[in-house]
């Protein structure tokens, strides 16, 4: 329940299929107690790809950023390369509120040059694991967007190995009395 004057969010999660590159369009129907609005739809769209090296006008060094429990406090870096003929500038479109500190290159990326995107998990995040993403856009003629999944992998629980009891070697030679 959202009190009058308060705000809330509906988070939609999309799991893209590996090996099936191409456009996708998904939607969700929301029902609420606003009688004038009735049901309404929230829509997601995008383009699934397989190889970060094949993108234009920017290629990415990786399609996702992943931390584990040992690296969660470290800054991750994603290298973007401008493979177009024009200088490009990036700006952040969307990020998960309160999860990440994202630093995009300030200056233009010249044709053929590389820059880094720096991503760090916010120190206030207590989640043991999460799967979130951020979206940035470049200022080319079509406003190309890229969404980068960011994953904090859950801790791996090692099975307990119980040590077997030590058994003294048993003498099996046959002794004969002469």
């Amino acid at each position: 329940m959202v009190a009058v004057g308060d705000s809330a969010e509906v988070e939609l999660i999309y799991s893209s299929t590996k090996g099936h590159g191409g456009p996708f369009n998904k939607s969700a129907t929301v029902t609420c107690n606003d009688n004038d609005r009735g049901n309404f739809q929230l829509a997601l769209k995008g383009k699934s790809y397989e190889n970060p090296d094949s993108l234009t006008p920017l290629t990415l060094s990786a399609g996702a950023v992943t931390w584990d429990q040992q690296t969660r406090s470290k800054e991750a870096k994603l290298v973007v390369k401008n493979v177009s003929k024009s200088a490009l500038k990036m700006h952040l479109i969307s990020q998960p509120y309160g999860y990440l500190k994202i630093s995009l290159p300030d200056a233009d990326i010249k044709p053929g040059k590389e820059k880094e995107i720096k991503v760090k998990i916010d120190s206030s995040v207590k989640d043991v694991e999460f799967k979130k993403s951020f979206t940035f856009e470049v200022n080319d003629s079509t406003g190309t967007r890229y969404t980068v999944p960011t994953i904090l992998a859950k801790p791996v629980i090692m099975p307990q190995i119980q040590s077997a009891p030590v058994v003294a070697p048993h003498d099996t030679t046959t002794k004969t009395n002469k």
Partner: protein
């Protein structure tokens, strides 16, 4: 002149009451949302991405999100 001002004020008061009356009739929970679609652009295949749509509760009653269904 004075009569004109009095008539104008009365008319204004009448309009305000009528408008207010209409607002009172149409209240209850009200949802305000300014973005109902999102373009992820390029997404690596096999990965999970997410986007949050923010909304505001207006009107005179608390807002309830009763159901969110794919499709």
């Amino acid at each position: 002149m004075r009569n004109t001002i009095l008539i104008s004020l009365s008319a204004l008061l009448l309009i305000s009451v009528v408008v207010l009356g209409q607002e009172v009739k149409g209240t209850g929970a009200k949802l305000f949302i300014d973005q109902t679609s999102f373009d992820f652009g390029y997404v690596l295949g096999g990965e999970v991405v997410s986007h949050s749509f923010f909304f505001l509760s207006k009107g005179t009653d608390s807002l309830k999100i009763l159901k969110v269904q794919p499709g």
